[in-house]
Symmetry: C2
């Protein structure tokens, strides 16, 4: 997967804009098996484990997680770069939503917070954009706030590629014909995730590996982190 | 893999006593490919990264790591439960060695230390024995001391088994005919390693995934940890 980094980051946003409608439908119809079998519950449980009152849902998509947390009494602000997904989230309710890209968050231009916790549920897809975003998160958190990240499990999702950081071509395999133009994504090894989280100011308190019933490999990894003392 | 836990822990020690001679020969002849291609250097580099003056080498075997660290000016005390391996280590020099099992360390009966760092290089094979051992390590360390663990990579070494904690049958596949009676070992998921290290009083500073040149999967995982503030 080659290309100028900025172009790859831009492709991610473009792809999600193109696929916003079928994506929102797929999530709302609970038709993504790995989500319903393992990872949806895992992210809700992980957020609950730190008992936050106010949560910043970064890359909230069509808002299912914000709604699930809201039903548990949590106050949620969701942001996403894709206007159509945010419109869908607003329609569904459950939180306050706004359109914002990761650069706006990274540059501390968003007026919201402070939050007790930030959550990124399968929403950290790029390279520099992710570094910039995570480094800025402490700005939006109360002191000693939490960060919870769910992402593809680096080892289990490595596939036939060499196990090292790099851009990978996306795929909609297993999704319907209405999906197109899959986004590239930046693969990080476990070592790189741990190192990036620490460099961005977080200590890993716990790591979980949600696994679907009867599955051999974990479906994802969840990092539950706390801000390093400032 | 079934059996009373104590019997399985005892089998580990018995197996290493039986295989001490061929093991020492294999290490000294550098005939274990994963070690020479990736993991030997990885553990030496990891220990060096925390610049310790005095190191506690737990499960030192025939002493190659103690000798390697000694050659870098580090003072090493090595312990192992297998008398024949310790005898081999003493012959090779490079550190002070003693025969001790993990229970003796766990019960704080060893008179040595304090150390700047403890290292466990592929030497955490059991279940309760390992929990007991790691919990006691802070007792042998200076305040804010380091712990460095290298172990099989949980995801890469999971094989065809379900990805969950449990005893596994050992194998000497790839080793010579002079090896016999492989030891059982306790498989831990990544989540369990992270959780155990924290419960035993350590914060993970860094995680490394040594990978042999041209290999697809990492050969091991190395956790570089520091004592949580007491």
């Amino acid at each position: 997967m080659n290309g100028p980094p900025d172009a790859l980051e831009a492709q991610i946003i473009r792809s999600w804009n193109i696929n916003a409608k079928p994506w929102a439908r797929a999530v709302q119809a609970a038709s993504i098996l790995s989500r319903t079998l393992a990872t949806d519950r895992a992210i809700v449980d992980a957020v609950r484990s730190v008992s936050p009152g106010r949560v910043f849902d970064i890359g909230c998509g069509e808002g299912w997680l914000a709604r699930a947390l809201c039903a548990l009494g949590v106050e949620v602000t969701g942001v996403d770069a894709v206007p159509e997904l945010v419109a869908e989230a607003v329609r569904g309710g459950g939180g306050r939503y706004q359109v914002a890209d990761y650069l706006a968050i990274a540059e501390r231009r968003l007026e919201c917070g402070p939050f007790d916790a930030a959550v990124c549920n399968f929403s950290l897809l790029g390279k520099e954009s992710v570094n910039g975003l995570l480094s800025a998160i402490p700005h939006y958190l109360d002191a000693a706030g939490h960060l919870i990240v769910q992402t593809l499990h680096p080892v289990a999702a490595c596939g036939e590629h060499a196990y090292r950081d790099g851009w990978r071509a996306g795929t909609w395999a297993g999704f319907g014909a209405e999906f197109s133009d899959p986004a590239p994504w930046y693969f990080r090894t476990l070592a790189s995730w741990v190192s990036m989280l620490r460099q961005c100011g977080f200590e890993i308190l716990e790591c979980r590996e949600p696994t679907a019933p009867d599955a051999i490999a974990p479906a994802s990894v969840v990092f539950i982190c706390k801000e390093l003392t400032r």
